[in-house]
């Protein structure tokens, strides 16, 4: 039956076309900063503007800071909406929020407020995941963090003043060794780490 063979062929081409599309369309839509750079900002509220004006889209963010978007976690941290905003606008699709080990108990206590969240935090071996409406936010202490962004360049936010020298060296190590590749690093209220990207 010609109709049958034509329709079967068409469906198979369609299916495999869509399958390939699911692997290629998203990455093709991601936009990066070329050449890469490191920017010092006075507060996290400037990151919102920086990310928006850099024409970014579909990115992974790795945030080394004491506070994140604590609006969702029930805190009144004033500058916390930049990640929310970036995720809603498609700038960031997934985020890693890495906190200094000494502040981890503080984060765990916030986790106990999960009744205030529509979706509770999902526990993992390394910490927990906030299932944000616009993507996953992995939350963990630095000691549990192993970069898993692969070859994909990440947006890095670093708040140097909250990190002891030993932990800051570890973060530098991720960048030096290429475990964590970034095209836009925002250093909040301090000097850029010596391992900042060399582009």
């Amino acid at each position: 039956m010609p109709f049958r063979s034509v329709s079967i062929t068409a469906i198979m081409i369609f299916f495999f076309g869509v399958l390939v599309w699911t692997f290629t369309y998203g990455p093709a839509r991601r936009t990066f900063v070329v050449p890469g750079k490191t920017i010092t900002v006075q507060s996290v509220s400037e990151i919102d503007g920086l990310w928006h004006t850099s024409g970014l889209h579909g990115r992974i963010a790795v945030i080394f800071a004491r506070h994140l978007n604590l609006l969702s976690l029930g805190s009144s941290f004033p500058d916390g909406s930049y990640l929310d905003n970036a995720m809603y606008h498609g700038i960031v699709r997934k985020a890693y929020y890495i906190v200094p080990d000494r502040f981890w108990p503080e984060i765990i206590s916030l986790n106990k407020m999960k009744g205030a969240l529509i979706v509770p935090l999902k526990p993992t071996d390394t910490g927990f995941i906030m299932l944000h409406e616009a993507g996953r936010i992995h939350i963990m202490p630095l000691s549990k963090y192993i970069p898993e962004t692969g070859d994909e360049k990440a947006l890095v936010v670093l708040e140097p003043r909250v990190w002891p020298q030993e932990e800051q060296s570890r973060i530098e190590g991720f960048i030096k060794t290429g475990q964590l590749i970034t095209d836009l690093m925002a250093v909040v209220g301090g000097e850029a780490t010596s391992a900042a990207i060399q582009n």
Binding site: S7, F14, F15, H57, L131
Partner: protein
Amino acid sequence: MNETLTNNSIYIKSWKLAILVLILAAVFRLWGTFDLSEYRDDEFLHATYAKSLGAYGTTTNWGWHHPQLSGLIMYGTIKLFGDNPVGWRSSNIFFGTASVILLFLIGRMLYPGTAVPIIAMSLLAFDPHNIYISRTTLVEIPVTFFFLLYLCLLLEYVENNRATLPFAGLAMGLTMGTKAYFVFAIPLSVMYALYRIRRRGELTRAVMADFLIALLMLPFAVYFLTYVQWFSRGYTLPEFIQMNIDSAWALQKLSMDNFFMHRDFLEAGGTPVEWFVKPMFWGYQRLLNSEAGQFLLHCNNPPFRLLVLPALFAVSLNAWMKRSVREFLAPLLFISCYLLILLAQRPIFSYSSTGLLPFAYLALARTVTIFAVKINREKVVYACFISAILIWGTYMFPLVSARLVPLTPFRPILSMVRYMGNF
């Protein structure tokens, strides 16, 4: 007196009555729907969801748990008609009305030569709660439409040997892309189709390949494409799978605490176990004075839905005695959808019953025809039953559509309301 109907009876073969019911179904879903210019129920969430989905590929509320097609459809109607009641509600009016005629067509294939199709479509057309839901933005209406479209096209292929299998696959993908209510019903209907073909001795390798390609590869391709906006945010297939696992996990974690703002409303609709057992009315009012007011009442269509469980039993018994799998399909589909809801470990709003109604009403209609044949009073029974459906639906219509009504004629209903908020 023998009242056995001939095949050309208005209740069996004629399209005239079906078209009349369809027109009335459209009128009940359309009349005054755009008069309420403010959001009602979850419309604010849905409209915000749709606009954010269209613009940024994600939601700005918790709707991320659910597939995205309904949001994209609403985004399309908002772009077409504007960010107003027409843009918000027009797609549900279409899908709600079209579901009525699809149920008629399915009834013709499952119960040929009977009055089941016209009775079942009338039950759905004049179900006050279905009318209510069709006049809002709730996703239960499009997902039920897509599943009925899929089932209709699958039955056309199986029962009438038409080349509709690829179109059934397309509709299956659209169902999957709207909401997960039919996750058990879809494989069940595929198994039914394979069984029917096997009974005819036509189940060859080529047919199996057709099923695999049309009802597995095609639906999944369509399903992936319904997430076009989501993929445009930079995601890939492994992240898509992860997101689906996350959403299943998150849905299981929802508790009554998550619905604290709507707790009274949710509880007034009853638990799923009660949906077909207890008469329930609840909703919102806007009183003009002590004599008149407007109402947006939800209900579980008490006179008819309370007959559904006995009807399912009667139809199942009849199917068993006749050794007819085809007669058994409607109860099986009902059970498959109901089971999913009963097994879900979270609070569920009663409008989730929308997906059950087509099969509930097929079973109820079949029971009516069995009864009518048994007492040999087909014409009288059908005329009385359809009239009762129409009278009840017409009486309830003002209460579900915010028409300004005097209170006196509706006091019997209003006295039974379990929860009444204001709008």
